[in-house]
Amino acid sequence: MANLGELERSVMERLWASDAALTANELRDRLTLVGEAGEAGDRSPATTTVLTVLARLERKGFVSRSRDVRPHRYRALLSRAEHTAEMMHEVLDRASDRDAALARFIGTATPGETDTLRRLLDELARR
């Protein structure tokens, strides 16, 4: 059985790949489908496990839940690219603060440098 972190990743990948919002059961079925041949049944997580993972992802701000219908449907809050761009913003902000939460390689952070990188991120996001 995969650990929770890997499951979170798999769930996010299914949500990113799906156009529509999904229920926990639909997600569980999709997770089964990609299980390795011959042991597909064994690799299917229980629906409760999927719900746990979804609750964690919701808390972390990756997933939104629509509660107006039963069963609840889940979708990714941002696309993978949007999330990655946001993460890069956080990294650059931290680096310019030199908050010591992270250390980075390219040069040492100067306001000019991070401003340019941030502009570049914005340009990429608009495309």
């Binding site: 996010m12 956080e90 980075r104 390219i106 440098e113």
Partner: protein, 308 residues
Amino acid sequence: MLAIAALLGVLAVALAWPVPVALSRAEWPARAPGLALALWQAIALGGALSMIGCLVVVGTAPDGSIVGSAEALLPAFASGPIPAEFGVVHLVALTLAAGLAVHLALNLAATAARAERERRRQHQLIAILSDPMPGEPRTRVLAHPVPLAYCVPGLRTATVLTEGLVAVLSPDELRAVVAHERTHLEQFHHLVLLAFRAWHQALPWFPIANRAERAVTVLTEMLADDGARRATGAAPLAGALERLGVAGEPGAYADSGGVEPDRETVEARLARLRSPGPPLGGLARIATAVVAVVIVATPLVAMLMIIR
């Protein structure tokens, strides 16, 4: 008593301005970055202790001991008059000493808590958004075109490279960058940086705090460069630095107009990688280590002398 207070006062002033200014202008730290990093920490710690110690010695002068003064003054908080031998000067000095100590400690705690929160968030994002890099443990690749490498320190560590970086660097250069990040993690550079960050935030008006934080940042980069040099030799890291830090890859930054990193620092690191100066002599090393110990020990011993 007055002599001790004067000694600590002189030490505090020296460590607040002339000593760090001289150190930040010296050229030897590039030849012994680990030792220079230790000296910077001694200056910061010794400076804070001398400042607090000087105030404590002045404030406890009427009684002559720290414990005695506490026994005399603390009950006065709850009830009763302040003992007559303690004048306004003494009370102000003690208040300032306590306030400074608490202020510094709280800032350190707040900075550490913020960094920890940030790291936890980074690990969450890394786990979901990045892919493991084959053959390199605890190294992840992030699907993003901006070339960047960074590491997340802590109990659980991660080194993150972007696809943009992987595309721009050769395999050797990439290994050097990973070794550089890993050295940051193994030598716990984040703890030193954290302390100086907190110090800077606690005393933003303090003229030397910014300079110290900057010097310490550059020294940790040099130490990480040395780690990469041990792992892969100097050439691959110099190549990576050249490509990303100074020259910039024309394709990598596309239509951004180029990134302007801190040219001076990168040039200093490159010069060091190309031709490392002679290592600092044994005598100079010992002398520096002794100075570092004395700087921290003096205020500690002074305060121990008057504890009872």
